[in-house]
């Protein structure tokens, strides 16, 4: 029973929502196919959380419409709720209660009788490595354990669609990997996952498709491969020994890569995208050639690296402005709703 649904999990058209002066959603369109991980990528205040809250029936849109598995999120909210689950950025379990109590509480609210609820709670705790911590209050959990109990609570009834709002923000790398493994397991059992994230590599690792969100709108959409080829699959970072050589280095790089070269605030540093559209060579090969050209020109490079484009660079490429977090106040306002 890996495919529980045909048709898209989410269809949204022209969603708008404002909080006072702030337009959190400014006409967002989304098409999320069922059975996949779909990434909403964007900086703080881009409207990701608002979008999730509208789709999870927590917030009414001012305009536009959205359907989850064919049910309207406003008119048929109850039908939507029966099939979705939300792990928000903030507490989604009761911190005063123990892990077991939280899971039993939610299991009973989903209609399980007491012994069955307890059994389900124990199963989940075991699968999420929380058996020992089950009797402790959640407020005493570490960040990684917190996330795990949040997600365990969300899959109590194996939802058809799971919303994960920035599931790894603030986690250490190991806990982040654990969450990734869990997300992969969840989706492999047929649950659709809508994941919001600020990290390109997270979306890249997990998502089948990504929507890049900025100012309440989707500004780019596609598979990670498609997005990267439009943005450039990598970034070359260079540090020179001598700042005086930077203008020459810029020219050589520009000639070798055929893309604009960015001069960093550090007078020794330059950055350029590689592996973009209209270039048949792999990113690594382009970078190697550029390095060879620089050496031939007698420019001494102290530090050289080829990495994935950061979210900042993706944004720069897509919007011509960096991913500056929107006003902190806006984000807080959004959170308060």
């Amino acid at each position: 029973m890996s495919k529980r649904t045909t048709g898209p999990a989410i269809e949204a058209e022209g969603l708008t929502r404002s909080f006072g002066e702030t337009r959190a959603l400014a006409g967002m369109d989304l098409q999320v196919p069922a059975g996949t991980v779909y990434g909403l990528l964007g900086p703080n205040g881009a409207g990701k959380t608002t979008a999730v809250r509208v789709l999870a029936t927590l917030l009414r849109p001012d305009g536009g419409r959205a359907r989850v598995f064919g049910h309207d999120v406003v008119a048929e909210a109850d039908k939507v709720r029966a099939r979705v689950s939300l792990t928000g950025q903030y507490a989604s379990v009761d911190e005063d209660l123990t892990g077991v109590e939280n899971l039993v509480l939610l299991a009973r609210l989903l209609g399980l009788r007491k012994p069955a609820a307890r059994e389900r709670a124990d199963q989940l705790l075991a699968a999420f490595g929380l058996t020992e911590a089950g009797g402790r209050q959640v407020k005493k959990y570490s960040g990684g354990m917190r996330r795990r109990i949040d997600i365990a609570a969300s899959i109590l009834n194996t939802p058809d669609l799971l919303f994960l709002d920035e599931p790894t923000t603030g986690l250490d790398p190991r806990s982040r990997n654990q969450v990734w493994e869990i997300v992969r397991a969840v989706v492999s059992h047929g649950t659709t996952v809508l994941l919001t994230t600020q990290y390109l590599d997270e979306a890249d690792q997990l998502a089948g498709r990504i929507a890049v969100v900025d100012h309440g709108r989707v500004i780019a959409e596609g598979t990670p491969g498609e997005l990267k080829s439009s943005v450039g699959s990598g970034t070359v970072h260079l540090r020179l020994r001598d700042a005086a050589q930077r203008p020459d280095a810029e020219k050589v790089l520009q000639a070798a890569l055929g893309v604009p070269v960015q001069l960093e605030a550090d007078p020794l540093a330059l950055t350029a995208r590689v592996g973009g559209e209209g270039n048949d060579l792999a990113a690594s090969e382009q970078a190697a050639r550029a390095l060879a050209d620089l050496t031939r020109a007698g420019i001494v490079v102290d530090d050289f690296s080829l990495g994935q484009p950061s979210l900042d660079e993706v944004f720069l490429a897509l919007t011509d402005h960096p991913a500056v977090p929107a006003d902190e106040r806006d984000e807080q306002l959004e959170a308060a709703r």
Binding site: M1, R4, R53, A56, T57, L58, L59, R60, D78, R81, A82, V84, S85, L86, G88, Q89, Y90, A91, S92, V93, D94, D96, L97, T98, E101, L105, L106, R108, L109, L110, G111, L112, R113, Q123, L124, A126, A127, F128, G129, L130, E132, Q137, G144, R148, A152, A153, I155, N157, T158, R174, Q178, E181, I182, A185, V186, H189, G190, T191, A336, R337
Partner: protein, 284 residues
């Protein structure tokens, strides 16, 4: 226990997600039937009990606060308003019981506001259960606190010399009326808990409402001693009806007029503020 030990080995602190373990919990089982409105509300009530278990300090306001109220007012006004504190207590105890419990109702709003601030209500609001259940359950938990506060006050009163003529039945009836009213009145605070931005503003508004409501009543003195315009307010005040009805019940008498008014007020609070609350709750 032994199974867990063999799989996690010597280093239980490092969790490695295992595909097999996750598969067992992710296999889609049968969806159980949606719980009834009552079952869902009682489950939320159970949450309130668990919170009391884990954070017993929160009972301070239903134990220490009422004791202080009884002692303070009995000895402050007792000599002046009646011949002795003991005489005053016969008149005053039902009133102070009402005042204390009604004041405690505001914590319903404060608690709700805190829950929403923390984010846990986002989870509750996405559950496919009877919509008011989370709030009704919360108030069920608070009703327990009201009963506890009433019993604490009654005990202090009995120690100080309160001797109700209505006996056990009369006192129980009086507390029953008080609890019914307080349950209904709590819906005022769920509404403010949803509308207002912070815990502080909820406290502020509730004080502004509760002080005049409890003091401008027949709790402390007979209304006949007041100027006419104030008497008019006092007469219309639901707290006055409540206190009169509770006093009568505890004295072993019946006061159908005031009891009827108090039940009408209670129904009114539930209908008006319950509706407003649910409107806000659904439309955030």
């Amino acid at each position: 226990m032994s199974n867990a030990a063999t799989t996690t080995g010597r280093a239980p602190s490092v969790y490695v997600p295992s595909a097999e373990a996750l598969a067992t919990v992710l296999a889609p089982g049968e969806r159980p039937a949606r719980p009834s409105a009552l079952a869902a509300s009682l489950t939320f009530g159970w949450r309130a009990l668990l919170k009391i278990k884990h954070v017993p300090e929160q009972l301070f306001d239903v134990t220490a606060f009422p004791i202080i109220m009884v002692l303070m007012f009995t000895y402050l006004f007792g000599g002046a308003l009646a011949d002795s504190p003991r005489d005053y207590l016969q008149f005053f105890l039902p009133g102070i019981m009402v005042t204390s419990v009604v004041m405690i109702t505001m914590y319903t709003g404060v608690g709700l506001n805190t829950d929403i601030e923390k984010g846990i209500f986002d989870r509750f609001r996405t559950l496919p259960v009877w919509r008011p259940a989370a709030l009704v359950g919360m108030i069920f938990g608070d009703v327990l606190r009201y009963v506890l506060a009433a019993v604490v006050i009654l005990s202090v009163g009995l120690v100080l010399g309160f001797r109700p003529d209505g006996g056990v039945m009369g006192v129980a009836a009086g507390i029953g009326l008080l609890v019914v009213f307080s349950f209904a009145f709590s819906w005022v605070w769920t509404f403010f808990g949803l509308v207002l931005r912070s815990e502080k503003s909820v406290m502020g508004v509730s004080m502004m409402v509760l002080f005049p409501l409890t003091f401008l009543s027949n709790v402390f003195v007979e209304p006949s001693t007041m100027p006419g315009w104030l008497q008019a307010f006092v007469k219309a005040n639901p707290i006055t009806h409540l206190v009169a009805a509770v006093r009568a019940a505890m004295a072993g008498e019946s006061d159908p007029t005031n009891t009827m008014w108090l039940l009408l007020w209670s129904a009114g609070f539930v209908v008006v503020f319950g509706t407003l609350t649910m409107y806000r709750y659904n439309r955030r």
